[in-house]
């Protein structure tokens, strides 16, 4: 399906063949991270449980993306596509959050002027 475009891409750079040991090393690292995140869940870190779990998940994702998906050896365009997609997801989360998490904020119950300094310097 993508032979034609793929051919173009391969004309530009030779495919980098990753050694088997690299794959195995990445695999072992991923398994270790999985065990780690499971183990940490049973330890009380309070709110840091979530943060640590997410950090580990991001590390695992990076390992898969860079090595199994060959992005370490890929063109800049590929990286832009990936970063762009995550950035856009970030936009969706951030601006939706701007609404959902601020609903309870109170809007100046006292009004604009009470209790605040009125500007004295007019020019």
């Amino acid at each position: 399906m993508a032979e034609h475009a793929g051919q173009h891409a391969r004309d530009y750079h030779q495919p980098h063949i990753v050694p088997v040991m690299t794959y195995v090393a990445v695999f072992l690292a991923l398994m270790v991270f999985t065990l780690l995140t499971t183990w940490i869940a049973y330890i009380d870190l309070g709110k840091w449980n979530t943060v640590v779990a997410l950090i580990i998940a991001v590390c695992k994702m990076l390992l898969v993306v860079l090595f199994f998906m060959h992005v370490k050896y890929a063109t800049g365009l590929t990286r832009i596509i990936i970063i762009g997609a995550f950035f856009w997801l970030g936009i969706m989360i951030t601006l939706t959050g701007a609404d959902e998490f601020t609903r309870h904020w109170e809007i100046l119950p006292q009004g604009w002027t009470s209790g605040m300094h009125i500007a004295r310097t007019l020019f």
Binding site: I17, F27, A41, Y42, A57, M69, A85, I93, E100
Partner: protein, 195 residues
């Protein structure tokens, strides 16, 4: 394929956005719901998928270095079996049990007083997200089957293995989604005593 994966990031992303919003607004209910899930099955499935990513990468590498079609098919079939094992574990040990225990909103919900409405919301997320993920896995199994057939027909060589590479990207993407789903669904609020 990368552009297609970008669309998939936004597709799953919609559900992740909703998840983030509701988790923040209803954390205790989400914790309670999360504790209904069994960590060892989630962790095992994570391991299974990571193994399948390894075997997929090795299948592509076999084609890259010009190994025989038998080798490629071996790795592809192993990937297929691991993917099928993932789905089997999900169906038999997780979803079937949830069905019996009445934890599937809309299908079998034995909402007692112990289940606050927010827990129902969490279980909705659990089934929607893992269901969508499983659907992508099934599609992946279909793709792998096609690849096995294509390999058997001598379609790939050291110079041409693009469908394998592209399908590998898809397969790894589905793995990455699960890498995030595992902590976000199974490990909310920790599993230590008193959580």
């Amino acid at each position: 394929m990368w552009i297609f994966l970008a669309t998939e990031i936004l597709f799953f992303g919609g559900m992740f956005t909703a998840y983030i919003v509701y988790r923040s607004l209803h954390l205790p209910a989400f914790i309670q719901g999360s504790h209904e899930l069994i960590v060892k099955f989630g962790a095992t499935n994570t391991g299974v998928l990571i193994c399948s990513s390894l075997t997929m990468a090795l299948a592509i590498r076999s084609a890259q270095v010009g190994k025989s079609k038998g080798t490629i098919i071996f790795w592809l079939l192993l990937t297929w079996l691991l993917g099928a094992a993932f789905i089997a574990i999900k169906l038999r040990y997780e979803w079937y049990r949830d069905y019996l225990e009445g934890l599937i909103p809309g299908v079998s919900w034995l909402a007692g007083g112990t289940h606050t409405p927010g827990v129902k919301m969490f279980m909705c997320f659990y089934f929607f997200m893992t269901g969508l993920h499983a659907l992508h896995m099934v599609v992946g199994l279909g793709i792998l089957t096609v690849l096995v057939i294509m390999t058997a027909r001598h379609r790939f060589s050291r110079e041409y293995y693009a469908p394998l590479e592209i399908s590998g990207l898809y397969w790894h993407f589905v793995d990455i989604v699960w890498i995030f789903l595992f902590p976000l669904l199974y490990l909310i609020g920790g599993r230590y005593p008193g959580s």
